[in-house]
Structures are given as structure tokens and as C-alpha cells.
């Protein structure tokens, strides 16, 4: 909600109401509220809410509050801020769980909301019974107990992990109708802390023939992935902590390989074996899966880097702008090749663009929060964001990406996402206007096992 008299004084920086990014720093502006569609329950509670609002002492001020807890939980009023699992019907631990990006702010993903991708469930590992084996083209095969690893020098890095299959609904012929996080939320951002891999490799002593590393997890799928040794010797590390606490079981407890900026599947969870070799093993998940079939019938393989991408998280699909006025457009951008350099926002379907404010500090290969004030005039329009990283790479439009890669790549979808706002303020996902959009087929051409 906003005062129309003030609106006349706003300086527009691009078409259809995009405002100077410093606006909210200059004035004590009140932004409009964006809500999810109101439920019947919400409406029934309206009367009770009014009473509490108008009371001198609402109920929580008339009695002592709850005592302490051993491990804190979110407010009961936030119980809709949850992950969204889509799993294999007959093997429930095989599938994914989407992070609710559209319901979060800032850049750090709370541990309980970090996206999940499991191939056959979450092993419950007793760290006292877990060890890491390093063998192959090294001078000495070694194993490490967790109690050994806890004594090694550690480093921290805030970085995102994105599954190579994130946003794969974008390849569909019709736009996904899910909330922003529930088809783009296989990406999350944490501070990971652990032992640099090169320290352990140095201890084992790499032979000069060493070119690849095969990382294997202690899950029921016993998953393995091949990773070039130069990444291992550069910035890969073995995470023990996530956002200050030990990694959660679903994130790889007690030990996870982190390869900053590279696709999620390479960040092997429940890490138990590192085999040093002179060539990749050609595992199932680097041949039959996690490869991108192109229109000419050839497939891209070892596409490790996550390319720059951005997404407006609010306003986004299935939200409601209650009335015209001032809103804050906000979202996330990230790149596996370094820092985000800038994020442009358009509020007129790509005709004009304005640069968004980036939350500082902007970190290398980490979620970058962007924000820009916007004066919505109540008319139907399309808003979108476009990221550029420090290499100069610019996030492509969907039609551009499909022209280059076809529709059957399945992985590494990083195109611009369009949110349409209709006259009633309802936000929905649309594809580029020059594309023939159908509402029929909403299935992707490959499943999640």
C-alpha cells in the first residue's frame, strides 16, 4: 500500500514502474503486501485476528511464554514453509525435495530446508563406524576415521549447491504451475566447513599419473562420480559442518564432498571412498544420466559448471498482489563460475531493464540476493530477471537456450523465468510471448530415478 501523492515524485529507472534501487534506503516507504491465495481457514480466523489487533494486551502478553527448548523450531505459524518432495512411488527414498525459495529471504538456506536429491534413501550413519578410504594412484592407500578428520585443519566456504536437474520443468512445452521454489528449488546455499581435500591427497601422495578422482557414497545406491583431479587439488573440500552444525543426514552426514560451483551430483554425500585414477569410471550417473542429449543426437558429458542463473522469488507464481502500489521485487542469482556481476530486472516483458541492488557482500559461487522497488500500476504485465556473472556470461532467454540445446537435455536449465501479473494481481508462470504455449503436456521426458 502506498500514498499516491508520493508516487508522482518517484524516479523511474525503466519501463512500467521500475524504481531507483536506492529508493527504499532514502525514504521510509511502506511496501505492499504480497500474499499467498487466502484460504477459507484464514478468512474464518479474521474476526479473532481483529480482536487481537485491537486489544491492549493480546493473549501472549497475558500469560508466561513457553520455556526453553533443546533445539529450536520455526514458529507454528510458519508451518507452510517446507520442502516439497517428489519421489518414486515404489522406492520412497528415490527422488527429490524442493527448497521453498519463494518463501525465504536473504541468502542462507536453513539446514532443514536445503534441497534434497537421494538415489535410494538417507542412510543413518554412526560416525564412529564410518571411515573414508583414499586409494589408487597414490603412494600410500589410507583410511581416515571421522575422529581423525575432526582434528584436521578446516576451512569454511559459503556456496550454493544446485542439482544439474534443477528447473527441468522448463524444458516442458507448457510452463510449470508450481511455486517458484517447487520447480527451481533444487538449489540451496550454505556455509560449509571441513577439511581441504588437497591436504588428505597430499598425505596419501598423488602419483604423477593421477588425473581423476572417483568419489563414492555410503548410501544404498552406493553412488560414484568421476571428478577431475585439478578440482580436487583446487578448492574441493570434505564438509563436516553446515551452517555451524554437523551436516544433516539428508545432506551427507557425517562427510560430504563439496566441489564449489559444480553440479550437485558431484558433491557426493556420505562420502566413504576416493579412488585416484587416470580416467573417469563412466558411472551410470555420468553416462546414462546427467548427460544432455542435443538435437543432433549427441550428448554433452562432464558439463560440470553451473552457469549463471537468476530467479525472482517474490512476487512469483501463485502469489497475489492485493492492490496496485509499491512492491519490492526480490530474488536470487548465482553462477558456478564466480561472482554475480549484475542482475537486470524488467517489468515490461523485456522491453526495458533496470539494474537491481545486490545484497553485499557478493560472494564467489554463492547465492546473491537482488532487490528492486517497483510501482505496479494494476495492469497486466510480465516481470523477469537476468543475471550476468563476472565472466560476462549472460543468462539466456528460454527460446535462446532451447535453440542452442533442444528440448531433451533435461539437465542444466538456466533460462530466464517470466512471471505474469494479471489485472487481479495474480502471479503466474508464462513462457516467452513469441512461443506457442500449450496447456496440455506437462511431463518432462525423463523421470527422477
Amino acid at each position: 500500500m502506498t500514498d499516491t501523492k508520493h508516487n508522482k515524485e518517484f524516479e523511474y529507472v525503466a519501463g512500467n514502474g521500475l524504481l531507483d534501487r536506492r529508493l527504499f534506503l532514502k525514504r521510509g516507504i511502506q511496501f505492499g503486501t504480497i500474499t499467498a491465495l487466502a484460504s477459507t481457514v484464514t478468512q474464518l480466523l479474521q474476526a479473532e485476528t481483529e480482536t487481537a489487533f485491537n486489544s491492549a494486551r493480546p493473549p501472549w502478553m497475558t500469560q508466561p511464554g513457553k520455556p526453553f527448548s533443546l533445539y529450536g523450531k520455526p514458529s507454528e505459524f510458519e508451518d507452510d514453509v517446507v520442502r516439497f518432495p517428489t519421489q518414486n512411488e515404489s522406492v520412497l527414498g528415490n527422488g527429490v525435495s524442493w527448497s521453498p525459495l519463494h518463501l525465504m529471504e536473504g541468502t542462507i538456506t536453513p539446514n532443514g530446508l536445503h534441497f534434497e536429491r537421494h538415489h535410494n534413501g538417507i542412510p543413518q550413519i554412526d560416525p564412529a563406524k564410518h571411515k573414508l578410504l583414499i586409494h589408487g594412484m597414490v603412494k600410500q592407500d589410507l583410511f581416515f576415521r571421522m575422529e581423525d578428520l575432526y582434528r584436521y585443519p578446516m576451512q569454511s566456504k559459503i556456496c550454493f549447491i544446485e542439482c544439474g536437474g534443477n528447473s527441468n520443468a522448463g524444458w516442458n512445452s507448457s510452463p510449470s504451475r508450481s511455486e517458484a521454489g517447487y520447480f527451481n528449488g533444487m538449489a540451496s546455499n550454505s556455509e560449509w566447513t571441513g577439511v581441504p581435500l588437497k591436504v588428505l591427497l597430499a598425505e596419501a601422495g598423488l602419483k604423477s599419473s593421477a588425473k581423476w578422482l572417483i568419489a563414492e557414497g555410503a548410501d544404498a545406491f552406493n553412488m560414484q562420480m568421476s571428478i577431475p583431479i585439478e578440482k580436487a587439488m583446487d578448492d574441493a573440500f570434505l564438509a563436516i559442518y553446515q551452517n555451524g552444525e554437523k551436516i544433516r543426514p539428508e545432506q551427507g552426514y557425517p562427510l560430504r564432498l563439496i566441489v564449489p560451483g559444480w553440479e550437485g551430483v558431484l558433491n557426493v554425500k556420505w562420502l566413504r571412498r576416493l579412488m585416484i585414477t587416470d580416467r573417469p569410471v563412466m558411472a551410470r550417473n555420468e553416462t546414462s544420466r546427467y548427460t544432455e542429449l542435443q538435437p543432433d543426437g549427441k550428448a554433452r558429458q562432464f558439463t560440470f559448471f553451473i552457469e549463471a542463473k537468476s530467479l525472482i522469488t517474490s512476487p512469483s507464481a501463485n502469489m497475489l498482489l492485493k492492490q496496485p502500489g509499491l512492491y519490492q521485487i526480490t530474488g536470487l542469482a548465482w553462477s558456478g563460475r564466480g561472482k554475480i556481476k549484475k542482475v537486470d530486472i524488467s517489468a515490461d516483458d523485456g522491453k526495458t531493464w533496470a539494474e537491481a541492488e545486490l545484497q553485499q557482500p557478493v560472494l564467489d559461487r554463492a547465492f546473491t540476493r537482488f532487490r528492486l522497488p517497483w510501482q505496479w500500476n494494476g495492469k497486466k504485465t510480465v516481470i523477469k530477471s537476468r543475471a550476468m556473472d563476472e565472466t560476462g556470461y549472460v543468462q539466456p532467454e528460454r527460446t535462446e537456450l532451447i535453440k542452442k540445446r533442444g528440448k531433451h537435455g533435461f539437465y542444466h536449465y538456466n533460462a530466464i523465468t517470466n512471471w505474469q501479473i494479471d489485472e487481479d494481481g495474480y502471479v503466474s508462470h508464462v513462457y516467452d510471448k513469441n512461443e506457442n504455449q500449450t496447456l496440455s503436456d506437462n511431463s518432462i521426458d525423463s523421470s527422477w530415478d
Partner: protein, 184 residues
């Protein structure tokens, strides 16, 4: 005086940053790794490479594989390996990779036959992973290769015959990292 203090603390900060950088370059662990024996490594190392490295002793035929498949695999991957909502399509492709509905079966898409054995032995069946004997894994591999018209119905698969199976899509992959990236 104040200026000197600032200068002094700046120097300390610079020294600290310097130490940190040196530390990162030469970072050493406490050397707590335990020597692993050949047996310990052999027990854990089940990775199989395209040239056959890592393949165990044992053997399996197409007909033996059909029996194992129809008890252990058919529930998810369906009769004839045509796949279902809960299991990959492994065989029976009608469409080419260049079509609008590409079918990425073993015969059409997978570049190496050794990968089939590796994933069966390490990951399958999903409900009881690791329960197949090496002979069973060879046999199911043989049956799947047969379903994809890659080997004869009388073929036997073992560590010498498996790497020799010619896969139609072996040259169908562009190694993006090796081709375009140097990382440094």
C-alpha cells in the same frame, strides 16, 4: 599518535592476512591417516571401468539372466526392460535419439557395456541393493544386452567378453569439460 596506532594495527592485519595465505598454500594435516591393506581396498573397490578393470571372476548367460531379471528386476523395469513409472526404460526403444521422443535405452544411449554391470552390482535391486552375486550381475547384464540386440541369445558374459561388447552410441558423447575447459 592515533595515526600511528592505526598504522600499527593495519600492519598487524596485513601480517595476519599474509600468514593466512601462506597457511592455506602449505596447509598440512596432522598425518592421522591409517595405512589401508590390499585386502581392505579390494573389499571396497567395486568400480568397473570401460576397459574391464575392476570386473570380478564369474560369468552369466542370457537365459540365466532372464530368470534373475524376472524375479528381481521386472517389478520396476517391466517385462522386456521397457520400463515403468518407477523404473528406467532399459530396452525396447522404438524412437531414435534425434526424434521428438528419444528413448535413452542401453542399446540406444549407454556408451559402455561395463556400466551396466557396475550399476547392477552396486545399486540394484533398489529394495535389496548389494544382494546379487557376481554371477547374477553378469547374467542380468547379459540378458539386458541381449534385449537390446547387442549380443547373441547364446552369449555368456564375463570379465573378458563384457568390455568387448560394441555399444552403438559409444561415440555419442561430447566431453564438454575435456574439450572446452582447462580450469586454469
Amino acid at each position: 599518535m592515533i595515526k600511528m596506532k592505526i598504522k600499527h594495527s593495519l600492519t598487524i592485519v596485513l601480517i595476519a592476512v599474509g600468514i593466512n595465505l601462506v597457511f592455506a598454500e602449505t596447509m598440512q594435516g596432522p598425518g592421522l591417516g591409517h595405512a589401508a591393506t590390499i585386502d581392505e581396498v579390494a573389499k571396497w573397490n567395486i568400480s568397473v571401468f570401460p576397459d574391464g578393470e575392476g570386473l570380478p571372476e564369474g560369468r552369466g548367460s542370457v537365459s540365466e539372466g532372464e530368470v534373475v531379471y524376472n524375479t528381481q528386476c521386472v517389478g520396476c523395469h517391466a517385462q522386456g526392460g521397457i520400463g515403468s513409472a518407477v523404473g528406467d526404460q532399459l530396452a525396447g526403444a522404438q524412437m531414435e535419439l534425434t526424434s521428438d521422443y528419444p528413448e535413452k535405452t542401453i542399446g540406444k544411449y549407454w556408451p559402455y557395456a561395463t556400466t551396466v554391470f557396475d550399476v547392477i552390482r552396486r545399486s540394484m535391486p533398489m529394495t535389496t541393493p548389494g544382494s546379487l552375486t557376481d554371477n547374477d550381475a553378469y547374467a542380468v547384464t547379459a540378458y539386458l544386452l541381449y534385449l537390446n540386440n547387442l549380443i547373441d541369445v547364446n552369449a555368456v558374459i564375463d570379465k573378458s567378453s563384457l568390455p568387448k561388447v560394441k555399444m552403438p552410441n559409444e561415440d555419442g558423447f561430447v566431453k564438454v569439460y575435456e574439450v572446452k575447459e582447462t580450469n586454469k
